[in-house]
Symmetry: C2
Subunit: 248 residues, 2 copies
């Protein structure tokens, strides 16, 4: 019986969620702002980043919707019984100001105006552009902008004071939101290697593999692939993803 008690004590010490809570009480991981965070992709990112130990600031043009989303996401994590950092809802500019790293995931039609509204707030930071330049109603057709990609637009508009990294355009929002292994790798582009690496670290913390895929010019590849995947999803009735082969 004594042995069992010791075993129980060890189990407690080794209990995964207990340790995570403990770590999170002295959290030093960067906080994450998610501009446009009430959309399907933003919600999936918020869930996984909060679970990975990052305080998450969910932004929206309509702060009351961000508050609602944050409450729903917190409830979802509670229902899964996992330790996590807090998720807070607020307006887009505040999310951009308070996030150490800032994700942007907005419809392409709102991309430029959103970036202009947070341009000041994100100076000196890594900005992760998840925006895909889809042009409704033909979202299954590649229609890249004359600038080459949303990523290129962001880097040009925000200037050299912001390290723009483009990533996560090919992951299904439904997969991000679900409590599951994600069958999709992530191509990560951007002009600064250290910025790319910090985003790859976040991607790995969210349970995926991320790969250095070149300068921000190369954002065009992942952005174009999204329309191809939408096309394939329709035809093959699936959530298709992407795996790189030849890399361990």
């Amino acid at each position: 019986m004594a042995d069992l008690t010791i075993a129980n004590a060890l189990n407690l010490v080794n209990d995964h969620s207990t340790l995570e809570v403990k770590n999170m009480s002295s959290n030093t991981k960067p906080s994450i702002g998610i501009v446009g965070g009430t959309g399907d992709l933003g919600r999936g990112l918020a869930l996984r980043l909060a679970k990975a130990g990052h305080a998450v600031l969910v932004g929206s043009r309509k702060p009351e919707q961000a508050v609602e989303a944050a409450e729903a996401l917190t409830a979802e994590l509670a229902s899964r019984d996992v330790a996590h950092q807090p998720i807070e809802g607020l307006d887009n500019v505040s999310a951009a100001e308070r996030g150490d790293i800032v994700f942007v995931t907005v419809p392409f039609g709102a991309h430029t105006s959103t970036l202009e509204s947070i341009k000041h707030a994100v100076q000196g930071k890594v900005l992760v552009d998840v925006t895909v330049p889809l042009v409704p109603p033909r979202v299954a057709r590649v229609q890249l902008p004359p600038e080459g990609s949303a990523g290129m637009i962001a880097q040009t508009l925000l200037g050299e004071g912001v390290q723009v990294v483009s990533a996560l355009q090919n992951v299904a929002a439904a997969h991000l939101q679900a409590d599951m292994d994600i069958p999709c790798d992530v191509l990560v582009t951007g002009n600064e290697k250290t910025a790319r690496q910090s985003v790859i670290d976040l991607i790995e913390a969210m349970g995926m593999r991320g790969f250095h895929a070149g300068l921000i010019h190369n954002a065009a590849a992942a952005e174009a692939l999204t329309s191809v995947l939408i096309n394939i999803n329709k035809q093959y009735k699936t959530h298709a993803g992407l795996r790189l082969t030849g890399i361990e």
Copy 2:
């Protein structure tokens, strides 16, 4: 002993190469012209298509180089001891004229002039554009043309009388040439579904999976991905490939 003799006889009848040779003597599969067929990718396609039972016409601007390539490829298949259809070397226009289906795999700098030279020869046919719009020396940087993609340029230049299909930009030439399973899926784009399907059939005959990926506009995705893969190959010292997940 009698049983053994019967077994041997059965083995002979079931011998794979014997059967293939037999089939090939009454070949009804479409012949394949490969314009620019002396390059690394063209050679890999020629090997696999000849082995899959298609007569192959390797084209080059310099017919004597095409003849040399055809001889070398024939010797390679002989050394592997596999049944195959003949590989013949000739000039690009003749390869385009004689091929039932015509592949084009040329440096992007020669893309437009090559297409103009074969425009008449390929009317009414399926043309498979494998060209990637790389701009040396920065081949690891996505630099899609203003028209959107090489595939779009081809369809516009050749006109509606030609069914342009874009494919095979992401497969490593070294993998195509080697006697191995290829760890890469193929995105197949083009405006005509039947034309796409005929190319998917060829891709499967060459040992890969091909997927309907939308109209020719979507060629941009696979073309852009090539620069990303070149980038990844350099960094991770590999021949990276691509697999779609979520599709059986």
